[in-house]
């Protein structure tokens, strides 16, 4: 899986929050690499830290941050050491942009669609000429499949699918190299979802973009991803290329996740994962999945390190210690 062109490299990223009940370790030492022109999906149950990971990479942090450490290399440049202002100017929405969860409901109701899409341009790229901005907005809308006569409409006049496309246009208008999408289609109908996935696929090919897709829906994730990462309890559980992950997951959690996905076309006996994910406030000693793992053994009392296997896949599980 070694890519000569590593676009994003994350090293030991940690994000802890201060809450009334203690320190919440949302992202607890995550490291991975993503090659250019690849699309990676981050899957996991709700509360596993995947959205926090996105926010940590993009430095979109709330006020109650307790710890925020690690290294993030974007296109060779280490961006964690930049100041907030430098980050805002050089990185966020310039090199990487974000489509947040339920963003289609967060469109400004009093601004027209075109102005909305133009906003990131005006803020981050500081384009002076109105004509230039208009041209870029039109390009972005065409790219995502929004008819141009929607430019003068307001957000509430658009259907859910159209609004989501507008949000994606906003993420693309500044020509970033990396787009992080957090549950981009979970609130949409199946057909609209399929249409938008088609569009996203096409856009990626046309612009040679890199995607990080965050979702808990394993089925739809296979639409976009050629790489995958499984998160559990704030940690990376498995990192694979898509072929390996969907057909032959390594980590017991990944396997159980796959087994719990209902399949329409094949007759599949469904399994479910008993128990609940651990609290991120006081993660237990040892492997965090061990309490729910059917293949648990004595070594699991220790927290396993992520093993990099000979086929390039990374698994955080003692069962694979021999293949590192």
């Amino acid at each position: 899986m070694a890519n000569q062109d590593v676009l994003l490299k994350v090293e030991d990223l940690r994000l802890y929050f201060r809450t009334t009940k203690g320190v919440l370790r949302a992202v607890d030492g995550v490291s991975f690499e993503l090659g250019a022109d690849r699309a990676m999906v981050i899957v996991g149950e709700s509360g596993c830290g995947k959205t926090s990971l996105a926010r940590a990479i993009l430095r979109l942090l709330p006020r109650n941050v307790h710890t925020y450490t690690g290294k993030v290399y974007l296109d060779g440049q280490e961006v964690m050491s930049l100041s907030d202002e430098q980050f805002r100017r050089q990185v966020r929405w310039v090199k990487m942009s974000f489509v947040p969860q339920a963003a289609m409901n967060a469109l400004n109701p009093v601004i027209r669609v075109a102005d909305q899409v133009a906003e990131p341009l005006l803020i981050h790229n500081r384009i002076k000429s109105k004509a230039e901005a208009k041209r870029r907005v039109e390009e972005a809308l065409k790219l995502v499949g929004v008819p141009l006569d929607f430019m003068t409409r307001y957000a509430f006049e658009l259907s859910g699918g159209m609004r989501q496309r507008v949000i994606i246009a906003m993420a693309l208008v500044t020509s970033p190299v990396l787009v992080i999408l957090d549950e981009p289609t979970s609130a949409l109908d199946v057909l609209t979802q399929a249409n938008i996935m088609n569009s996203l696929k096409r856009i990626r090919k046309e612009l040679a973009l890199t995607y990080i897709l965050i979702t808990h829906d394993i089925s739809t994730s296979s639409e976009l991803a050629n790489e995958s990462m499984v998160m559990y309890a704030g940690q990376l559980a498995e990192r694979s290329h898509a072929g390996g992950f969907y057909k032959d997951p390594y980590h017991p959690y990944s396997r159980m996740l796959m087994a719990s996905v209902p399949s329409l076309r094949e007759d599949k006996e469904l399994a479910f994962i008993p128990g609940k994910p651990p609290s991120l406030l006081n993660p237990p000693e040892g492997c965090r999945f061990a309490p729910r793992c059917p293949e648990r053994f004595e070594m699991c009392d220790q927290d396993p390190p992520p093993f990099t296997l000979e086929d390039g896949r990374v698994v955080r599980c003692w069962l694979y210690r021999g293949r590192a």
Binding site: A39, E45, S46, S159, G161, M162, D189, V190, L191, T192, Q193, A194, N195, M197, N198, K201, R202, H216, D217, I218, S219, T220, S221, S222, E223, L224, A225, N226, A242, G243, F245, Y246, K247, M256, L257, M258, S260, V261, P262, S263, L264, R265, E266, D267, L270, A271, F272, I273, K276
Partner: protein, 334 residues
Amino acid sequence: MQRTNGKLLEIKDLHKWFELRKFGFIRIGFVRAVDGVTFDLGPKEALAFVGESGCGKSTLARTVLGLHQPTKGEVIFQGRALHKLGRWYRSQVGYVQQDPYGALPPFMTVQRILEEPLIINRVARTRAERLARVTEVLEEVRLTPVRDFLGKFPHMLSGGQQQRVVIARATVLRPKLIVADEPVSMLDASVRVEILKLLRELQEAHELGVIYITHDLSTIRYFSERIFVMYAAKFVEKAGVRELIHNPLHPYTQALLEAIPDPDPKNAETYKDVPPGEPPSLINPPEGCRFHPRCSRMIEGLCDVQVPPEFEPQPGHYVACWLYRDGEVPAADN
């Protein structure tokens, strides 16, 4: 209690329209949420309604539950019209809703939540009887040990546990019919299957009729025998589960099935063949077949003018599509 044909529920040409008013009193039109729906449900049958949001399935559910009055048409339960049944009907039908936390009053304990229907309907009059019934249903939904859960408030439970309480509440009166509107769509993927399996077990154990409403086709095969596909306030296809999945006839159903992904890495390289556009507005639906603006196999002059009736090209498999007007499955298109 007479039963005609032994059917639990018979819906005949049901319409439910909501008035749209301007300034509070000028009527400017109707939202036709349910626009001519007919079907039967047997006493031990599990039926699934599938459709995208805005197609009217939730309104249909609420009308069957008696929460809305039909604008036209009838809802017949065990041979008697709904509006004649009064209060008794409430104890015969249970409602499982989509939002497990929202469906439970946050200021009541689990015990109280489950006792409310009993108290209101004057079932199990003494405290001891009520407690016995509550214990029974909690055991059925596998929230054990029961005494741990009786005193808990909804916010102390996980999503899956909350939904189990909702299901327990729906069955506490020992109804004959359960209407479950998207019962698992707000739960984590790993929990969905458990809950669906639970519903299925309850249905079999108590011989309940169940109407299961969802937009997620992939869960259908685990749950029901028959599927009705709904589009723009009407049914477009009705068939048994396996038949529908392997042999979808209506272009919309075909598109739905095509659009559902399986976790297959090849998906990243292929594009899905789905119709563009959005479901139509229910205020001014298209003329003729409501799907015709998006249908790649539309027949000019027919589909855009006349509403297709239900055809039965195969026994038990009904389609409301002009493609099947000759009573047989046409040759596959390009």
